[in-house]
């Protein structure tokens, strides 16, 4: 394709710069042709992409991150309602117009509120569970330490309680048998 389009161009260049040396002319021609082919190639790619438009998988990529504001906990990619079909069309149009995924999602948040995203960027939501776990872990560790440090109950009564070695009697027996075996 590039040959057909750019041959007259290069001929004109040849005519204009007749006084150039053959060598420099050849370099110029090579440069010119390759630069223009490159531009044509890019142009063609853009044209082809535009003709095809975003694929349904492209639409789903964005739709999977958005939640239907009508139904509960269903992403746009899976929702069969009329509203969601329209919103999917909007995603397709905006993708075709060259918007990024993030821009499209921001657009939906602007128009329909925080509710449409499944991962609301609210620090309190995200930080409480890990902080709670960490706090519980620290508490537990402190508790275990204090238990482990405490002296054994020294009362006669406590000593008289048979230790529950039966609890792991079975394991002990197993270990014994295994040891004997080896």
């Amino acid at each position: 394709m590039s040959e057909v389009v750019f041959t007259p161009e290069t001929r004109r260049a040849q005519r204009k710069h007749r006084d150039f040396s053959v060598f420099s002319l050849r370099i110029l021609r090579v440069l010119c042709v390759s630069a223009m082919s490159l531009i044509a190639l890019l142009f063609a790619t853009v044209l082809i992409t535009n003709a095809q438009g975003p694929t349904q998988d492209d639409v789903n990529r964005v739709a999977n991150q958005l939640y239907c504001p009508v139904c509960e906990n269903i992403t746009l990619a899976n929702c069969p309602t009329q509203a969601c079909i329209q919103w999917r069309a909007r995603i397709r149009d905006e993708l075709a117009a060259g918007k990024s995924d993030e821009e499209i999602i921001q657009g939906f948040v602007r128009d329909y509120g925080m509710r449409v995203v499944g991962e609301p960027p609210i620090p309190l939501l995200w930080w409480l569970p890990p902080l709670g776990l960490a706090a519980a872990a620290v508490f537990l560790f402190w508790l275990l330490r204090s238990w482990a440090r405490r002296p054994r109950p020294a009362t006669a009564e406590a000593e008289s309680i048979p230790l529950p070695e039966d609890a792991d009697e079975y394991r002990a027996r197993l270990e014994r048998e295994l040891r004997e075996d080896v």
Binding site: E72, L125, E177
Partner: protein, 690 residues
């Protein structure tokens, strides 16, 4: 009128429940066993009464008696009989009656067993179970009455009421609305009853715990041993309910998955989490007499979460605070949960003195510490799920902003904790009670650790580049290895000492130590489920395309060819239209199967359902999940399809089966083992110290 019979049976059941509460408490206070016996008889009477009530609703549903509002709302004439029967739990009012009925069955069972052994506790067990029972029957009678009928007022208005308003004439609808299409699935037979059985089942250990607190029985561990099997039964049903729910969602909902972190799913999952923590931590109390307060906290929490779960499922409070305000049962539920929580915790605090640990932790490296870590992780997951589920309510109440907390939150926050839990599951059972030696533990663990690391390296070399998946599979392999080695070591030891063949030794080993090896089987089931979850979560592929007839799409090496389309009109009297596409499935040039993805359209309610066509590819290692998304109305020339490839998802169902088998093994009665596991506390009882 047959439903009137049911209504009055329910009224009588309510009276029995209220009477049982009063009589049992009076009998206990006045030390007059005759009153307690009378209360017990009242409890026993509730089961037949509610059975009658439930049967009258079922009969009305089967006979399509459209005088009843509930029958109109949940059925129509065209539904097959089994769906008409399951419609008993297909709507709010009927499901609350169903809940009450299952509750009465559990209470009936408790009354028949172990009466002599726990004579002290029984009055309060009756009181607590019957307060719960009376609450639910009360909801059925006063707020969500399935016996309500349609009446035509003199003004011409149609109202629904259990008793005829003055001057009203009976009104009969011509046809019912039919059951929600999502519920017209064989899974509907088993999933809700299992879930509800699990829910009501946890009332029993809770009732015993509260009774123990009230009577002073908390000083011994008797209540835990009495309720161990009840707890396991409740837990079994709840687990089954969750598994069946996952399978049902996978087969019906058509979004390619089995678990969506939906508020209703979470509501059922929360009591399972605390219940599982409870099942583990009572072992420390049984064997070492420790963690008494904590176990009380866990069972109280589980009970409250059960009530809360029923409340969430039935009121739709999560979807909107306004749904809660509109729901008639919202306020009574809220009050009941609050009262149960505050009352139980207050009672617990007043008894703290008697709940001191009998033993102390001997070492940080011990089974006790491992159990505590297990509890920490379960509570961490519970907190995260609870927070994610209820945050939208807080957000709407306090800031007025409606938000959605979707799967990404739960996956990211609970994923690592689940992974840690599975890892702990591999280490914990190998750690000795009281004090473990790191050296002995290392001897047991080095081989599984090495094999897990080897697997991780292998996976990376094979091109698995997702860190979460590599870690997940390696952890699963590690835990599977340590758990299986427990079976192997045990069976070998038995074989060598008794000379039995290996398989005989293995089965006798399991039979003689059902609790231990049943538990290990459950752990193996969890490992399989974990493999399925990791595989389907990280490697799911998804693609959608519109195909003309004869055109094909290619996903993950499979080729789908759109071959034909047909529409099946509704059968006479039915409203279901089926549109079925024919798709040829190919791989490597070979035709594997013909798939029939379809869309079901229910004309009466204008609802649609897209059940997937499923095919097990690569010997069942990956599921092909094909959906018919849409089609061109004119000429049916083209149709849109969505394909999910779900690797390893079948491991989840396989793991579920192993899990349930393990629970049955662990719960199966074994008198010899019961004697072997005499806890320290009982021995003290025998020594006359209490």
């Amino acid at each position: 009128m047959i439903a009137d019979l049911g209504l009055w049976a329910t009224v009588l059941a309510f009276a029995c429940a209220v009477y049982a509460v009063a009589a049992s408490l009076y009998g206990a206070r006045r030390k007059q066993p005759v009153w307690v016996e009378s209360a017990r008889n009242a409890v026993v009477a509730i089961l037949p009464l509610l059975t009658l009530a439930a049967l009258t609703i079922i009969a009305s549903l089967v006979r399509s008696d459209f005088h009843l509002a509930y029958v109109v709302n949940t059925s129509n004439r065209a539904m097959p009989t089994f769906l008409k029967v399951t419609a008993l739990w297909g709507g709010q009012n009927g499901s609350l009656l169903f809940w009450s009925w299952l509750m009465s069955a559990f209470a009936f069972g408790v009354m028949l067993r172990k009466w002599e052994r726990d004579r002290e506790l029984m009055p309060y067990v009756i009181a607590v179970t019957m307060i719960t029972q009376a609450f639910f029957i009360g909801l059925v009678l006063f707020f969500a009455n399935p016996f309500a009928k349609y009446w035509e007022l003199p003004s011409g208005d149609i109202v629904s009421a259990a008793l005829p308003p003055a001057g009203a004439l009976p009104f009969r609808a011509a046809e019912g609305n039919g059951l929600n299409p999502l519920l017209r699935h064989p899974g509907m037979i088993a999933h809700p009853p299992m879930l509800y059985l699990g829910f009501v089942g946890f009332t029993v250990p809770y009732a015993f715990a509260i009774a123990a607190l009230l009577t002073g029985g908390y000083r011994s561990e008797a209540w835990i041993r009495t309720t161990r099997r009840w707890t396991l039964a409740a837990w079994l049903f709840l687990s089954l309910g969750l598994l069946l729910g996952g399978r049902w969602a996978y087969d019906v909902l058509g979004w390619g998955g089995y678990w969506g972190w939906d508020p209703v799913e979470n509501a059922a999952f929360l009591p399972w989490l605390t219940g599982t923590a409870f099942l583990h931590s009572v072992m420390i109390q049984e064997k070492r007499g420790m963690l008494k307060v904590w176990n009380m906290v866990l069972i109280i929490l589980t009970y409250c979460l059960v009530i809360l779960g029923t409340f969430i499922t039935r009121t739709g409070v999560i979807s909107s605070v306004h749904a809660f305000a509109r729901s008639e049962i919202g306020v009574p539920f809220f009050i009941f949960v609050g009262a149960a929580l505050v009352g139980s915790v207050a009672l617990l605090i007043s008894r703290l003195e008697g709940l001191k640990s009998e033993n102390h932790l001997d070492a940080l490296l011990s089974r006790e510490a491992a159990f505590l870590l297990n509890n920490l992780l379960f509570m961490g997951i519970t907190l995260a799920v609870f927070w994610g589920t209820f945050f939208p309510i807080f957000s709407e109440l306090f800031t007025g902003t409606k938000i959605t907390v979707g799967p990404p939150f739960y996956n990211r926050v609970t994923g690592p904790q689940f992974a840690a839990l599975v890892l702990l599951m591999g280490v914990g059972p190998l750690i000795a009670w009281r004090r473990a030696s790191a050296k002995a533990l290392g001897r047991l663990l080095w081989l599984p650790t090495a094999s897990a690391l080897l697997l991780a390296v292998l996976l990376v070399l094979l091109g698995v580049s997702i860190p979460g998946a590599v870690v997940g599979f390696a952890i699963a392999e590690f835990t599977a290895a340590t758990t299986l080695s427990e079976f192997w070591r045990g069976a070998r030891a038995r074989q060598r000492s008794s000379g039995e063949p290996f398989l005989t030794a293995l089965s006798r080993l399991i039979g003689r130590n059902r609790r231990r090896y049943g538990g290990y089987l459950i752990h193996l089931g969890v490992v399989l489920i974990a493999v399925g979850v990791v595989g389907s979560h990280f490697f799911q592929k998804e693609s959608q395309a519109t195909l003309g007839r004869g055109e094909s799409m290619s996903v993950a090496g499979y080729i789908f060819v759109y071959e034909g389309f047909r529409e099946i009109p509704p059968k006479p009297g039915d409203d279901l239209v089926r549109d079925i596409a024919t798709v040829g499935l190919y791989r490597d040039g070979r035709r594997l199967a013909t798939l029939y993805p379809q869309r079901e359209f229910y004309q009466a309610t204008q609802e649609t359902l897209t059940p997937p066509a499923l095919y097990g590819g690569r010997m069942g290692l990956e599921d092909i999940y094909l959906l018919l998304v849409g089609w061109e109305q004119a000429g049916l020339a083209s149709a849109s399809f969505k394909v999910y490839i779900n690797p390893l998802v079948n491991f989840i169902w396989l793991g579920g089966v192993v899990f349930i088998l393990g629970t049955l093994v662990a719960a199966w009665p074994n008198p010899a083992e019961e004697r072997l596991l005499t806890p320290a506390a009982e021995r003290r009882l025998a020594l006359g110290e209490v």
